[in-house]
């Protein structure tokens, strides 16, 4: 009750500070001899107010204050403390408050961390960021206030969706938001730099660290979401091409491309239009994702509330931002004509540009697959869903040149390169092809494409691996990231090629046998926890070589709300995962049993961590050099 009031008024005060800040900024912009320190203190105050508001919401959740509508809708007294806290951002209102928190945090950090840049640039970045912040404040207070008051006060809350009660998912939103919202600072500063016509090599190295920070968080956020899907959704997959996954992948692709463009811009004053457009699109794609999943236009676990008013607000806000940025781009950006046609065909920057186009292609495939069903529905009222085959057919063939260029590109020099001393590149290609041929030989399906695909991934693997031993130390971050990427593609390929699956229906005590595996359903136990009851099936699985694994998948019956979920039991080893999940078969004593052996599962997660490590090293190397 008290917390709701404090939280609510902090938000209103925060909004007022935004307006004050814009006023100060305009004054300071006109008279920009020195940076007005009032601006910095007010930005800090605004951040603190949002923190207070956020803490109030967390406390309301901890004390199960059901006079607060958000708490009532998403919590329950019997829930463990951990999930009470994570419930704060496991809903529409709370997650928007988290957006706001990150928005204000980033602009504050930006102002204190940015030195040696023109004052006008800092102020203008702040103004653009404040426009976004105001938009979110109004949205939050007007359509999704987390502190709405309920009277009479309900005795008990409605509970949190059980599939959201998972440790990976508790930290997935904050990490992902740091990435999403972090891109707002790139958006604001790109617009500011364009307006002041100061896109330069110096600006590139300044913005690079912000790109890296957002990129690392976005990557880790996606990784956590994917791990959650693997453990919780019970299908044994880690990526489903679900619209909600796609909307996180799109900003990631844009941001990755942006990162590489910034690297080129740092060395040579080219690709300025690329950098500006990508900075704009990364953030607008993040916003677009929020719009798509929050407005209820798409149906998914992430659709917290289906309220057209909210959707309309984000839609208008999003398109206003797009139009503003388009005007700024067209009227202020002056491309540097002299440098335009100055690319030698064999150089590092050419290879980066080619791969950028591939990335843009991947991005448009994902974009089309995600929004086309909506367009079709509106235009012809026909409902379709776009599934994995669409993405696989359109993306996989183009991965081959993409991987090859990714291997060769970093070996070339900036500006102009030649082919001397590159014998090892050709011999490694030959080795990769031979090895891949030996691996795929025993599989008759899609023999040709699999061989070529695996050999290009192996090629990148070998080339980057070789670099670890002969390195000149200067580009370890790029090398680790590219090595991680080759490992990721290889793990995904081997995982999809060599996974095996057994689906059957079993009663307690029964045994199912194939030529290689024997599944024994030993017994079931019942368990009771604070927020759910569960049925645990005990299975023992025997391989052809006599090795026995005991797996105990669970069916959980949550009390609030009353939902049944299946928890897979997964035995992870270095080389493969054994995945077992059970489901109830209606009105029968049978359980539907799904057993999968999934090779290299662990390596998918590890390789993504490795890629992020590459970015982190690049980030800290920069700090260290200063």
């Amino acid at each position: 009750m008290l917390f709701s009031i404090i939280g609510h008024y902090s938000l209103i005060l925060g909004l007022l500070i935004s307006l004050t800040l814009i006023f100060f900024s305009i004054n300071n912009f006109k008279n920009s001899k020195s940076f007005d320190t009032k601006i910095l203190s007010f930005t800090f105050l605004q951040f603190i107010l949002v923190v207070v508001s956020f803490l109030c919401l967390i406390l309301s959740f901890i004390f199960s204050d059901f006079s607060n509508e958000t708490v009532f809708n998403n919590s329950h007294t019997t829930k463990p403390l951990f999930y009470k806290i994570s419930g704060t951002w496991g809903n529409h209102e709370g997650s928007l408050l988290l957006w706001l928190l990150v928005l204000t945090l980033f602009i504050f950090l930006f102002l204190i961390k940015t030195k040696n840049q023109p004052i006008k640039y800092k102020i203008l970045t702040l103004v653009f960021q404040q426009v976004i912040i105001i938009g979110f404040f109004v949205f939050l207070i007007k359509t999704s206030n987390p502190f709405n008051y309920l009277y009479p006060i309900p005795e008990e809350g409605l509970g949190l969706n059980p599939i959201l009660q998972d440790p990976a998912l508790a930290i997935h939103p904050p990490i992902l938001y740091l990435g999403y919202v972090g891109s707002s600072i790139i958006f604001s500063s790109a617009l500011a730099a364009t307006s002041l016509n100061m896109i330069s090599k110096k600006w590139a190295s300044h913005i690079k660290k912000w790109v890296l920070i957002s990129w690392v968080f976005l990557t880790l956020g996606i990784l956590l979401g994917s791990i959650w899907a693997y453990y919780e959704l019970g299908w044994g997959g880690f990526w489903f091409w679900d619209p909600v996954e796609n909307v996180s992948l799109m900003p990631w692709l844009a941001l990755t491309t942006l990162l590489h463009c910034v690297l080129v811009l740092e060395k040579k004053l080219v690709l300025t239009s690329w950098v500006i457009i990508l900075s704009i699109s990364t953030f607008t794609l993040s916003m677009c994702g929020t719009f798509l999943v929050r407005s209820g236009i798409l149906n998914s676990v992430h659709t917290f509330a289906n309220d057209p008013e909210r959707g309309l607000f984000i839609l208008i806000f999003l398109f206003s931002l797009i139009f503003i940025s388009l005007f700024i781009f067209f009227f202020f950006h002056k491309p540097n004509q002299s440098n335009l046609n100055n690319f030698f065909w064999l150089s590092k920057e050419t290879s980066i540009i080619i791969n950028n186009w591939f990335m843009m292609y991947f991005l448009s495939v994902v974009l089309v697959g995600t929004v086309y069903p909506i367009f079709l529905d509106v235009l012809t009222s026909e409902k379709i869903s776009v599934g994995p085959p669409f993405y696989h057919k359109l993306i996989i063939p183009f991965l081959i040149p993409f991987l090859l260029i990714m291997a060769i590109g970093p070996k070339l020099k900036w500006i102009k390169s030649n082919l001397e001393d590159k014998v090892y590149l050709i011999s490694l290609l030959f080795i990769s092809f031979l090895l891949s041929f030996l691996i795929v030989k025993n599989f008759n399906s899609n023999f040709l494409i699999n061989t070529i695909l695996i050999s290009s991934a192996l090629y990148l693997f070998f080339v980057t691996l070789r670099d670890f031993f002969i390195m000149k130390k200067n580009n370890i971050s790029q090398n680790i990231a590219h090595f991680g990427f080759s490992l990721l593609i290889l793990s995904i390929l081997f995982n999809s090629l060599f996974s095996t699956e057994i689906i059957t229906n079993l009663k307690v005590g029964e045994t199912f046998e194939t030529s290689t595996t024997k599944i024994i359903f030993k017994n079931i136990n019942q368990k009771k926890e604070k927020n759910y009851k569960s049925v645990v099936g005990n299975f023992s699985i025997q391989n052809s070589n006599g090795k026995i694994d005991n797996l105990s998948p669970e069916l959980r019956i949550y009390n609030q709300p009353n939902i049944v979920t299946s928890e897979a039991d997964i035995k992870t080893t270095l080389l493969s995962d054994k995945f077992l999940v059970i489901n109830l078969v209606q009105n029968q004593d049978y359980f539907n049993v799904r057993y999968q052996v999934k090779p290299f599962m662990l390596w998918i997660w590890l390789s993504v961590l490795l890629i992020s490590l590459g970015a982190l090293i690049s980030l800290f190397k920069k700090e260290y050099e200063k």
Binding site: G311, F323, N505
Partner: protein, 172 residues
């Protein structure tokens, strides 16, 4: 000049996207089955599951009779769920259930049926998923209620108690 035209072009594209999203917001996002009453069943030829005979659609569906065409597969978990309901429906003997076995292998499909029972009067073996496309199916499972070679109703996703009640009511 060229720049302004480009800007105008891009703005109009974004405006169109805006309008479409705006309209999309007003649509429901619940995937309701299309009710295409009295639409003729598509004509097709396909292979029967047990006999490997090739049949035409007209030979399967008689006039003046009720049929339920059910698209299923052994790899599809929701199909397992609805299977017992299909068995119940079959036992009423008022309707013939035609199965379309979608993108499956014979061995798996056979063990599926021997495990859970066979409610189907006839099964069409649709290994490549071509027949399902002709029916305009989005995925498995999906069921079509047919009378007089016309589609009365289409059920997307697994059948539940509610839809079985509706079917029983309609075939009375």
């Amino acid at each position: 000049m060229k720049n302004k035209l480009l800007l105008l072009f891009i703005i109009s594209i974004f405006t169109i996207i805006f309008i479409i999203f705006y309209k999309g917001l007003k649509n429901t996002n619940v995937y309701t089955p299309d009710i295409k009453i009295n639409k003729e069943v598509p004509s097709f030829t396909s292979e029967l599951f047990y006999s490997n005979e090739v049949v035409k659609s007209k030979e399967i569906f008689d006039l003046d009779k009720f049929y339920l065409l059910n698209i299923w597969s052994s790899w599809c978990a929701p199909c397992r769920q609805e299977h017992s309901l299909l068995m119940d429906l079959m036992e009423t003997k008022k309707i013939k259930i035609i199965g379309v076995n979608y993108k499956d292998t014979k061995k798996n499909a056979e063990s599926f049926l021997s495990e859970l029972g066979n409610p189907f009067y006839q099964i069409i073996f649709d290994k490549e998923g071509v027949t399902a496309i002709e029916w305009g199916a989005y995925g498995v499972p999906e069921s079509f209620l047919i009378y007089d070679r016309k589609i009365l109703k289409k059920y997307i996703g697994p059948l539940d108690e509610q839809s079985i009640k509706e079917i029983k009511f309609l075939i009375k």
